[in-house]
Amino acid sequence: MQLTLWTYEGPPHVGAMRIAASMEGVHYVLHAPQGDTYADLLFTMIERRDQRPPVTYTTFQARDLGGDTAELVKRHVREAVNRFQPDALLVGESCTAELIQDQPGALAAGMGLNMPIVNLELPAYSKKENWGAAETLYQLVRSLLKDQAPSELKHDPKAWQQQGRRPRVNLLGPSLLGFRCRDDVLEVQRLLNLHGIDVGVVAPLGATVADVHRLPEADLNVCLYPEIAESSCAWLERSFGIPFTTTVPIGIGATHDFLVEVHNLLGMTPPSPQEGIRQSRLPWYSESVDSTYLTGKRVFIFGDGTHALAAARICKEELGFEVVGLGTYSREMARPVRAAAKAMGIEALISDDYLAVEAAMAAAAPELVLGTQMERHSAKRLGLPCAVISTPMHVQDVPARNSPQMGWEGANVIFDSWVHPLMMGLEEHLIGMFRHDFEFVDGHQSHLGHSGGSGAIADTEVAVSTLTDELVWTADGEAELKKIPFFVRGKVRRNTEAFAKSTGRNQIDSETLYDAKAHFSA
């Protein structure tokens, strides 16, 4: 048993639902107890979809468990097929159905239905949402295409040159309940089009069964969301010889690298490195003097592997932040995240334990948190500014306006949304200078439009969590500490205490604080 206050991912069948609901003509019969239909709300409320997800739940109840639950499954499969007439059927179980083992996939396969049936085996007690989505997409692609696979791999990504047409790529990975997939697809499509590259199939988002059959017609697969599509891309490479991209175009540098990778794979001349500076506003906004105060801001990053890695690079190379914490809940991405963290001189946090993430966040004492919806809870508790960069998300992160993360426009969106929670430069200076104001008090951020700040909470939290028995702050030391601007106060307190311990002092007064300051800046 694991105590879970917040879970980063849903169960794997929610991942399967994401694939079914993202596509057209695919129906999903899910053996699940009454109540599991809550998942429909993720699509109708969070994604604000105007149609029900294509999911038929068996919704068994306690009284059904005494009877023939297998017959119940077959009845629902029959009804679903008759009513919705899908082009392909997914059949699977939720966590409770997994316990009663009716084998719904095998049952459906034996019903003589005239359509491809994909039996989903998603172990709900060991795997999670993204794995479920990746597995479902993989199984679906594989069962629809395995008969088409050539006996000998002879795919040439440069074949478009001889055929006298524009190169054509598939975009794989975007799905409903993914982070900003809707606008990322448009942005990447626009980006590729500007370079004379056509987009063949986008899958699973918006794809039909016929579209899946067209996947092998592309010169190259673009893997936009490795969490969802890497296994499918790898299979398409193994079975059809189609290579796939490994750079995710989030951020100026990454978008450029992505373009270079795509051009090289397709046998084209890579674009100028200046393109980002011309096409995106992030480079100039970040270089302009207003952004100087962003230098060295301490940032804690957590999310799925793809978005965490992208954020770390943007923070370090494009915004001039100092990354003081980096982690992911995507175990499949642990290795690259560890490598990225190591390159920044920190240790990666690989965990799906919300409490561990909160503890790491408190220990790192950042000035900005870039995380998921869950990190907003911890950041509130610790009184830290926070922006959401990854799923899990809530309804406010499926906005009406165009808001990609990828490509040149994505970088613009990122600049605005990551800088917004920070205190504006002038206010930061004035609060450092004058601490007795009746309106602009410690921790106040007037550009966010509410009165009273949150920094005070952070201070008391950190104080309680780090003060040990043998260390005592004198009144004079505390008073001096109070003069440090609230957003770095946690860090200064920790440094001073560490310094005091290392030099064998057990009392911390104002002089100790200045000693520590000099020690750490030296």
Binding site: Q2, T7, G10, L41, T44, A62, H377
Partner: protein, 428 residues
């Protein structure tokens, strides 16, 4: 009884009882709800409540792993460990609810025993109780029935003559009802659930119980077993229902009817004027209620009798005929009351009858709106202060608002196509 009682089975589109945590955690902020279940359960609650940002979460899930299922880990030991871990982090918790789920019920994990054992260990500090919120056994609001049932054995015994209101009420509504009962002449009024989980009301032969909510079948039975008298009355929705509800208590306390009328008549008159603008919108409109909370019958009664709506079909997930007798008697002859659900067939009936307003869950609301059918999403009714004579206007407003909104925005957002096509700047 002249209504047309029907039953239907098939796929259901309802919440499980775990969802009740979403409002119970606010009613009793010193309680913690620990679901013992799967990642699905955790995901459900956080999807429902996670849009609020919590500095201190008041619910969580002990997620079963493969080790627990394989019997490699002793589930009871694991539960103890998790509970201790939780209480260490949150020492201010006074009541811990262990909430059963589908997975824990199917593997027959004995949460009652766990609660008993933890209770012994933590006596004087935290009280530990258990109930089931599983989908296989409970639908939505039935979770509250479970939670309150679990508290009944903890209520202290008392012989005091008192009125006990049972079922979650909004704070302001609770205060108002207590005030009004006082003016009628009933001075000792308490509530279950209380605002603090440790301040449980007493119970005994002197206690008269008024149910504020229609979904408290088990709780009512257990309160009867403790010697209380549970009244049967229409539920306090709308001016008429609320008045009858208060009268039932007054009668039980043998209060002079004139005294009651003196207090309530002016309120009813005022409620009618508050209702008037909404009645103008709702009168003659046809409404279809899908099953969700068991509030459907009293709502249908209110909307038909006080707002002039026409009832196409009244769905309910479960019908307790005894407790609902008075509500059923107030529905018009021949009303279709559907217990249970086959959601696809029910939607076919919705489409065939084209009602003016459909009360349904959020899984169906936006899709129906997109089909051009106005909806009122039903969960809002358990999150809104709707009880009592003074709230009749607000209750009606919940139903008139979606219709009014349509009138407000439809024309501008769907302009008539009389304008020539080539003047359209977007498509030019």
């Amino acid at each position: 009884m002249s209504v047309n009682l029907l039953k239907e089975s098939g796929p259901r589109e309802v919440f499980c009882g775990l969802t009740s945590i979403v409002w119970l955690h606010r009613r009793m902020p010193d309680a913690f709800f620990l679901v013992v279940g799967s990642r699905t359960c955790a995901h459900l609650i956080q999807s429902a409540a996670g849009v609020m940002i919590f500095a201190e979460p008041r619910f969580g899930t002990a997620i079963l792993s493969e080790r627990d299922l394989a019997g490699l880990a002793d589930a009871q030991d694991e539960l103890d460990r998790v509970a201790r871990e939780l209480l260490e982090r949150r020492p201010e918790i006074r009541t811990l609810f262990l909430v059963g789920s589908c997975p824990s019920e199917v593997i027959k994990l004995d949460l009652a025993r766990a609660a008993e054992r933890l209770n012994d260990e933590l006596r004087g500090r935290v009280q530990v109780v258990n109930y089931s919120g599983s989908g296989i056994e409970t639908t939505f609001t039935q979770g509250e029935d479970g939670a309150l049932s679990a508290l009944v054995p903890l209520l202290p015994s008392t012989d005091q003559r008192q009125l006990l209101m049972v079922g979650t009420l909004a704070d302001a509504v609770e205060d108002r009802l207590i005030h009004l009962f006082g003016r009628i002449g009933i001075d000792t009024v308490c509530s279950l659930p209380p605002r603090k989980s440790t301040e449980l009301p007493g119970i005994g032969p002197g206690t008269t119980v008024l149910l504020t909510q229609p979904y408290l079948t088990t709780t009512a039975r257990l309160l009867r077993d403790r010697g209380a008298r549970v009244l049967t009355a229409p539920f306090p929705l709308g001016a008429e229902g609320s008045r009858s509800w208060m009268e039932a208590a007054a009668k039980d306390f043998q209060i002079n009817a004139d005294q009651v009328a003196t207090v309530l008549d002016p309120l009813v008159a005022r409620a009618q004027s508050a209702l008037a603008p909404h009645r103008d919108i709702l009168n003659g409109k046809r409404i279809f209620l899908l099953p969700e909370s068991q509030l459907e019958l009293p709502l249908a009664r209110f909307l038909q009798r006080e707002c002039g709506m026409e009832l196409v079909e009244v769905g309910t997930p479960y019908l307790n005929r005894e407790q609902m007798a008075e509500e059923l008697a107030l529905l018009p002859e021949g009303t279709s009351v559907m217990e249970g659900q086959h959601v696809e067939k029910q939607l076919d009936r919705v489409r065939a009858t084209q009602p003016d307003l459909v009360v349904c869950g959020m899984g169906l609301a936006n899709p129906l709106e997109a089909e051009g059918i106005a909806t009122k999403w039903s969960i809002e009714l358990v999150f809104s202060p709707i009880h009592g004579i003074d709230q009749a206007g607000e209750l009606a407003e919940l139903f008139s608002r979606p219709l009014r909104r349509r009138e407000l925005i439809r024309q501008a957002l769907n302009p008539p196509s009389s304008a020539p096509i080539d003047s359209d700047p977007v498509h030019a």
